[in-house]
């Protein structure tokens, strides 16, 4: 039914290559595709970024509205994250209400940001128990060639780091930058045959058995993780992947910081 059929020979070829420590696009097993990040691309958003990770392209937006704090956390603001797998981006993406894969991406990206306290929730409090900022983080994928997790996380971090609180819209003074306490970076790897490959393409994701996404902060601490897709890892494979993830995250973080500085 799907438009994009993965044939047995394509599948086997990727497995055989992985056995030799190779990939179809000649990347190293830990190597990321070219990353480009552009910020402040959407005037209507408080913060925004346009990210290309190889053939995957996403727009990320940060919107801030005034709202009510939850009654059990009167001194905190609210953050919600949504990632969409738009049908525009791939013939494999389905219309209709979000299903498992979209919800999973949203939640995993959300955990990376939330658990690392990237945006301290208490900094979003305007009037305890009365008013707070509600921050909407949206990932909008328009072209898909694998690894939406990392593209979306990179884009949201860049969008958050350049976001301006819209104080002027609520008679609270001048716009000011959002407080960013940490810089979580997600790295995603898949297992093909017995090898672990980072930043999988769509074909690699389709051929792989399990996938693992790990979010680390700038101190190298692990703030969120998720194993997904069918199949399993050995414990030592997970440990090794996390070690490699921490190294990769540093490279990617310096890329984001450079973009944001401009």
């Amino acid at each position: 039914m799907s438009d994009d059929v993965v044939s047995d020979i394509q599948r086997q070829y990727l497995v055989d290559l992985a056995d030799k420590g190779r990939r179809f696009d000649d990347r190293g097993l830990d190597e990321y595709r070219d990353v480009s990040i552009e910020t402040d691309v959407i005037n209507q958003a408080e913060g925004s970024a346009h990210v290309r990770l190889g053939g995957t392209e996403v727009y990320c937006g940060v919107k801030m509205e005034m709202g009510d704090p939850y009654s059990d956390s009167p001194n905190q603001g609210v953050i919600t994250t949504t990632a969409e797998r738009n049908q525009m981006a791939s013939p494999d993406f389905e219309g209709g209400p979000p299903r498992g894969p979209s919800v999973e991406v949203s939640r995993v990206i959300d955990r990376g940001i939330r658990e690392s306290d990237a945006v301290p929730l208490e900094s979003l409090c305007i009037e305890p128990g009365e008013k707070c900022w509600v921050v909407y983080l949206d990932v909008h994928c328009v072209d898909f060639d694998g690894n939406l997790f990392d593209a979306g996380s990179l884009g949201l971090l860049a969008a958050l780091m350049t976001a301006q609180i819209p104080n002027h819209r609520h008679d609270l003074g001048e716009p000011e930058p959002l407080e960013i306490r940490s810089q979580p970076i997600m790295t995603t790897a898949v297992k093909i045959g017995d090898e672990i490959l980072f930043d999988p393409t769509d074909l690699e994701e389709k051929v792989s058995s399990p996938r693992i996404s790990v979010s680390t902060d700038e101190h190298g601490r692990i703030r969120a993780a998720q194993k997904s897709l069918a199949g399993g890892f050995q414990p030592e494979e997970i440990q090794e992947t996390i070690r490699r993830s921490r190294r990769k995250a540093e490279e990617l973080r310096s890329n984001v910081l450079e973009t944001v500085k401009k």
């Binding site: 993965v6 047995d8 020979i9």
Partner: protein, 228 residues
Amino acid sequence: MSREVVVPGDLLDDSGQKEAGSNAYKEGSEVYAERVGLKKEGSNHVEVVALSGKRYEPQRGDLVIGTIIEAKPSIWFLDINGPSDVGMHVNEVPWRVDFGETTKYLDIGETALMKVYHVDEQREAQVTMKDRTCRKLEGGTTITVPPSKVPRIIGRRGSMIKTIKNNTDCRLFVGKNGVIWFDGEPEEVSHVRDAIHMIVDQAHTSGLTERVETFLDEGPEAVDPPTE
């Protein structure tokens, strides 16, 4: 030599003397383009050589590469990068296949080189493997390129594909539907894949065969930039 790029709705001819060729339509005495492409005039017709689009329009006699996506008791359905899936009846394979035994010969996910032998008025195509060039493809892998680039990959009288074959140790089939199969050592496969991408990206440039030869022989650094 430069030719005019036309888009849908562009007037191609109003002499009333010419018929609409491929990718063109006639209204009264006028012929218009129906796709983006190059205007090409014949003595009694005018047509458009399509430049845009990534899907394959099945043509009778074309050799194509497809993957089985469905197997019924007496027919397979294949994806050939076209507007619809194509059927291959059990009578159209070189083996005697008993009713209900299709997957013993070609299972879902398997890939074959086959020939388009019939396209009906509804543009539904049927394929056959009863031709000695046709076979099931085992090993290697495939990539897909826009079918409009296939003539360039094959080259005039097969010159480009000969260049590729002579300069690498890869086995290679180019399907008219834009699906290309190749097999060899990983380095060689990478090399051929890059050469094909180079042909697709530079299809409009001159001296391409020479540059592809240099690329395969001496590597990407030795290739001069293309001239438009």
